[in-house]
Chain length 342, copies 2
DNA sequence: AGTGGTGATGTAAAGGTTTACATAGGCGGT
DNA sequence: ACCGCCTATGTAAACCTTTACATCACCACT
């Protein structure tokens, strides 16, 4: 009973008085075995506490029941809620989730590639276009994969993200509704997909509201707190102040808020500020930041679902799944201050 | 070359014109094979791009190269930095990290147990005494395990944590040095080990400073923001105000700060507040919270090191490893307000 | 020259599973 | 009574490694 080594299929077969093949069938294709036999097998399994040896199974089947999740930085607080979605979905389909992070280090990425080659993972989840792998050469050797947030290898791999443009649009519409017209957009790098899309939402919203191009102020940076702060400085120097700062992400928004506060302004009385992403800290900023929530757990869930479908090639992979982001209204937006009205 | 199926050891053997046994030896015990042969084998490996099939290896060896990490909630922002430490250490020893979370759900815990039984994981990392597994019965079947933060199964399993008492002591000493005497301790549940230890540090610090028992105010709660707020209310009702609030964790501290602010007080002018843990949000609070930093990545690293030692039973396991926590001084502490001086 | 030892390599079994193929029994149709 | 078919089960190969044991060649020593 409390044997030291775990029970094998053979133990079960002996007790149920059938062959191991029948046991295997009773487990995986129960409809192919007689009801009475099935019963005996199930009893034997209960007695022995048998669990299929995953190693042997994977070896035989030629594929494992593990999904490798590779992110540049698993320490990123945004990562864990996505992981929750990934893990739940995987687990409920009998898959386990392996995690790895590259820290943008090619050496480490290579190690993971080796990992994949050694059959340890049936599928791959990739964060944000990373993987300095040798491009096309490698693509061929990659198992079924799904990207998160951004397409990987120029669309060679399907991905799950968020409709950035729609999110940005929601922010602009809110600001316009509050009465703002002169709205600055504080971005990060022009090369990032998220930047382009959010910027597109910004432009579309202003177009719809009939705001002329000369009232649009766009600043670029690198997405850090510091770059938000610097953007504020630049705008003050040029002395062409907007009444609202729409930022490409929450970090930048925090930088903008700090920049404005050190100049003695109050938010949202003097200026409105918005972010994007809804990082956990957004609630704790003063004032609490109005921003766009990324449905992170849901993104994880969808990405895993897509990957599992790919694995059982039940369908031609969609190349893009965009989820609807939500506006989270907190306290960093109000009507423009009369002080700036001409 | 760009074969569809990955190369096996047999392919390598054929090309190197040796037997598969020699190939295996050349890889794992190079000193047992002649230099010239080793060379041939290495070339063949390079040609084929061979990687050992981890499934087959694990099956043969009877143990996998995976470590299962089970936490109640992997969405917890504190989790990810520990994970970084765990993963780095594991990876550098050829192990992969599997993650799972129970959400305090017995059903899910059971699934993970099954997982372990099916030989998929060589070792186990457990967070905070969880696992509603059936106690002793299960302990026997558990692979080598290490706990994080708290002992598991009443010490049956070694663990890595932080010296809470020392951390608490650092906080008290700071407050005393600033001139505080009447310091409240806002705790969570009396049953938690962390509570007891931090409380012990509080008492030891006050003892050392010669602060009499009647100046010590202790409130209990459940560690949430709300309970911190409630504690403030209770102290105001009793009208026995301290000049400083030493909180058992950062969440509670935030609640205390909010409670004090809604009553119109300024921190740290009117009251000093301290936390414990240094959650990512601590920097963003207003004022930024003075707290104790948990060396999270280091905890992960140590836990994994310990587990790997257990796995290769190189040494009798220490049952407890306590790391030194650091005081992080920010802006929530100052000298006590003259206003409260009698 | 014979013995024993050493070092390098090969042979083959074992690890636990899945599944193609073989076997066997039962049943309905002629 | 025979044939063919279907269902239920068993046999054995294959998945890829690692490693105990066997083999063999060579060398040193007596």
């Amino acid at each position: 009973m409390s044997d030291s080594t775990p029970a094998t299929i053979e133990d079960v077969a002996r007790i149920a008085e059938v062959s191991i093949a029948t046991v295997s069938r009773a487990i995986h294709t129960p409809e192919k075995v007689a009801k009475s036999t099935r019963l005996k097998v199930n009893q034997a399994i209960a007695i022995t506490g048998y669990t299929t040896n995953a190693m042997a199974r994977s070896l035989r089947l030629g594929r494992s029941n593990m999904i490798l999740v590779v992110a540049p930085d698993i320490g990123d607080p945004n990562f864990s809620s996505i992981l929750v979605g990934l893990e739940n979905e995987a687990r409920s389909h009998g898959y386990g989730v392996l995690i790895g992070h590259t820290q943008n280090d090619a050496q480490r990425a290579l190690e993971y590639l080796k990992f994949l080659n050694s059959n340890q993972a049936a599928g791959l989840i990739l964060f944000t276009g990373i993987l300095p792998f040798g491009h096309e050469t490698m693509t061929a050797r990659l198992p079924p994969s799904v990207g998160i947030f951004e397409p990987v290898f120029n669309g060679g791999i399907p991905y799950v993200g968020v409709d950035d443009m729609e999110g940005a649009r929601k922010v602009v519409d809110l600001l316009i509704a509050e009465g703002h017209r002169k709205i600055a957009f504080i971005g990060d790098s022009r090369t990032r997909l998220a930047y382009m899309r959010r910027r597109a939402g910004y432009d579309a919203g202003l177009d719809a509201a009939g705001v002329p191009a000369e009232l649009r102020l766009v600043q670029e940076g690198d997405g850090t707190l510091e770059s938000g702060r610097a953007a504020v400085e630049r705008l003050f120097v040029r002395d062409t102040l907007p009444t609202a700062f729409m930022c490409v992400n929450d970090q930048t928004a925090l930088g903008v808020m700090i920049g404005l506060k050190t100049r003695g302004y109050d938010i949202p009385r003097d200026f409105s500020v918005t972010g994007f992403d809804d990082v956990p800290q957004a609630t704790f900023m003063t004032p609490a930041l109005t921003t766009i929530r990324q449905p992170r757990t849901l993104i994880g869930k969808h990405a895993m679902t897509l990957l599992l479908e790919l694995l059982s090639d039940r369908r031609p992979a969609e190349t893009e799944i965009l989820l609807r982001p939500d506006l989270v209204v907190r306290n960093s937006v109000s009507a423009p201050s009369p002080r700036w009205m001409r």
